[in-house]
Symmetry: C2
Subunit: 313 residues, 2 copies
Amino acid sequence: MSTRPVLLMIVPPGWGRFWQEPLAAGNVQAYVHGQDLYAPGDIEYALGFRPKPGFLKTLPNLKAVFSLGAGIDGFLTDPDYPRHVPLVRFVDDTLSTEMAQFVVMHVLIQHRSERMYAGAQREAKWRQAMLPRATENTRIGMLGIGEIGAMAAERLRDLGFPVSGWSRTRKTIPGIKSFAGAGERDAFLEQSDFLVCLLPLTPQTHHILNAQLFAGLPKGAYVINVARGGHLVEPDLIAALDSGHLSGATLDVFETEPLPETSPIWKHPKIVATPHVAAITSPAVAAKSVVDGIAALQRGEPLKNVVDLDRGY
Amino acid sequence: MSTRPVLLMIVPPGWGRFWQEPLAAGNVQAYVHGQDLYAPGDIEYALGFRPKPGFLKTLPNLKAVFSLGAGIDGFLTDPDYPRHVPLVRFVDDTLSTEMAQFVVMHVLIQHRSERMYAGAQREAKWRQAMLPRATENTRIGMLGIGEIGAMAAERLRDLGFPVSGWSRTRKTIPGIKSFAGAGERDAFLEQSDFLVCLLPLTPQTHHILNAQLFAGLPKGAYVINVARGGHLVEPDLIAALDSGHLSGATLDVFETEPLPETSPIWKHPKIVATPHVAAITSPAVAAKSVVDGIAALQRGEPLKNVVDLDRGY
């Protein structure tokens, strides 16, 4: 039996190979679920994204579970999640930076009429136009402004946009207006020309992007969802786009992933759809964070980024 | 005869109406060239972009000329420009911000494979991919890093990219590596995965984006020209794209504008072409800067942003 810490990777087929080397370099014995043979009792740590409900409780000696992403709703929906085992979510600067890049890019693509210019190029037409709305009058609202949302908010602020954030508790970020709690939600929405959802998915935020919320946004608002598909009521979005109340949407996450080929979302002229790529956890970076977390536990030190299972993030 | 300062606008047809109101509010008497009747001797100030060579010298009482944009090469190519009249270039935060937005957006569109995802959406295909190159290994080189280039450089730096700048004199911008002068040009080029041209157009920088410069860039480099069409040798760019040495280019400016429908640039699969819209001078903002400049002169104060006619910017 190995004296090295033993980790089970619960990852899509083919992903294991990206992790094996950095984990071995960190002196961790790693098995891939569904590929390698292992004894459940040997597993001390698990790493994954959305394990099958009930599976984790079959590992009797688990000391910690590491999430492959910043969102951990894929674990919380397991009614048999072993609640005495700390769940660690992955947060690092690379993830926040990639998310900020994605949000900034899609705000700018809309703000700067990029798709119109791409169409004009296909027709070989010189079609010059002023900005439809000045940057200083284009208000960005971040629905959820934790570590990741804050970076996106700051980058948009630095590109001249007025930015605000809505969160459970009030935040102090220079130049960013903070709205807090249910009582300030309507005031937040009515001043959001772009609404960017970066909330954690919890029972309280499930289907928060619905007809009622869209009605509270200014006419012509644009919605970006880079959090979870479960935040959005997809038919409500399509209705608000088709009525002309919303001008468009960028969706990176969906209730069903991969998004089925038959989904009306793919072909909707006002929707930009991307395949959950706003921020991809880098195996090299994430493996180091897992190795560091295991080493801390082995030394008896506290783990960082442990999820509050009751709060849900 | 009016006692208000008298300004002549030399602008494309239809543009005059955007300026009339803010100039009147600033107590300036404004005429539009080619539309209004005026006596040449009454004109004290002129405002424009690319007046016909020889025209400005027909205005005997000119006290200052205001450029509609940050680039003033449209005036310097007039051999009869009245050199005793100060030429003021337009620089304001709005222009720098819009330029930074445009550069950031087009770097991200390439870096984040946005066109690939747009194509996958048209085919209703879930085509997930890792970033072709990590952000921290994607080096941006700003060819020209004055007021406008510096802001674009800082915004890219804050999104995780290593950024450097090349300029005539050395610059000190936190987190941005400075290369200066002809002696450091090759070292600058060989570490630029993205090359962003924001130089002023002068006899020294005319056709600087040529085959020899492209050969000095790393294989797979991407070129963005948001300065002037005169910087670029268009056939050299197309050759470098077709050989595979360069991976792509975004061009906002062209030797002939509007770009003719017959130009091969429109249809080139590796070129993103936009109709000189990276940063559009806002009439309201620019009119205020002209009104302020005139008022300063009338009070006997020095003008800001006066061009050094010998240096060319």
